[in-house]
Amino acid sequence: MGFRILGTGSALPAKILKNDDLKQFIDTSDEWIRTRTGIEERRVLTGEESLLSLAEEAVNKALSDGKIKPREIDAVICTTMQGDCSVPSLSCLLAGKIGAREDVVTLDVNQACCGFVYGLSAAEGYFSSGLAKRALVVSAEAVSRLTDWTDRSTCILFGDAAAAVVLEKSAENKVYFDFCVKPDDEVLSIERPNDNFPYAEYSGGHFIKMDGQEVYKFAGAAIYDRIKGVLGKSGYKAEDVKAFLLHQANIRIINSSLYKLKLTDEKFPHNIERYGNTSSASIPLLLDEELKGGRLNRGDRTVMCAFGAGLMSAACLFEL
């Protein structure tokens, strides 16, 4: 079983935070951030916006792009590290916001930066089981809420965004997946704090903790392994693929992957310059931009590859 993409959409917070703006909080510079990450600016949600409203905007654009009505959607899958509420789920609230049917299947997926690829695999599962013919996969992340704005090694990296795809079941358009987990809660994690539970001590946590060099080493190997994995499963070669959409974490991770895979950079589009690392939203955001910009077209064979906290990595290959 597989699927095809009927439409895509994305939404960004209005507030742009340029590298130099970060000097208000931390000791850093535009040059330092650019050379180490490739990031020039990022978007952040402010008090007037919610993640739900951002997700709703992305979905409405994707539905409009695919010429699909909300009531034609059978499943709403959201990938997020944290919605506006812990409960109800973002997917549940989003289904109501967009006017989906009451019998729609809703599911939140928290697989950090790999969320979008896992969300696609969940959609494929619903298609295979007969639960759905059309599904939304919506990646919405407010990483700014999980960031320690006093930590200059991490707060420079992240941004907020939402991006959505409308999928339709397709027996002909097969989708290949490759996943890997290497459980580790030291290299990259966000711990749950304990605030006032009387039977446990107060604990900190809440913010992203990351060992940048270990993540860098993990990412390079994971991208190589997942791309080789998904190519091996599909039988296609790298030259048969129009584009490799990598999770946008750091331009130097992308460049390192190019070197390791011995591929040229035109097959690896990137937009990290403008948005930073938007976790699971980064791949569908890039996909939307590439499609709307005409650099990718329906039918193009594409690999999507993500890596992140877990440590997890995930890839898929299919024709758009």
């Binding site: 180490r36 390079g220 750091n250």
Partner: protein, 69 residues
Amino acid sequence: MKEQVIKLIAEYKGVEPDAIDTSASWADLGFDSLDVTELMVRLEDELGKEVELTPEIVNIDALLAALGE
């Protein structure tokens, strides 16, 4: 192995191997922390063995010593 390591570092920096000062600090060679990490990854691929980056590896000479050169 020394020539292999210096050649790889020179290629990474886009300079001739003769231009590499093995006693210079990583910073003086123009390497930031991610450059050094990337270098270790490439060395592992090239040499086929794990290269652990410790705080004592402050330059190429120290790296070569850690590699047993």
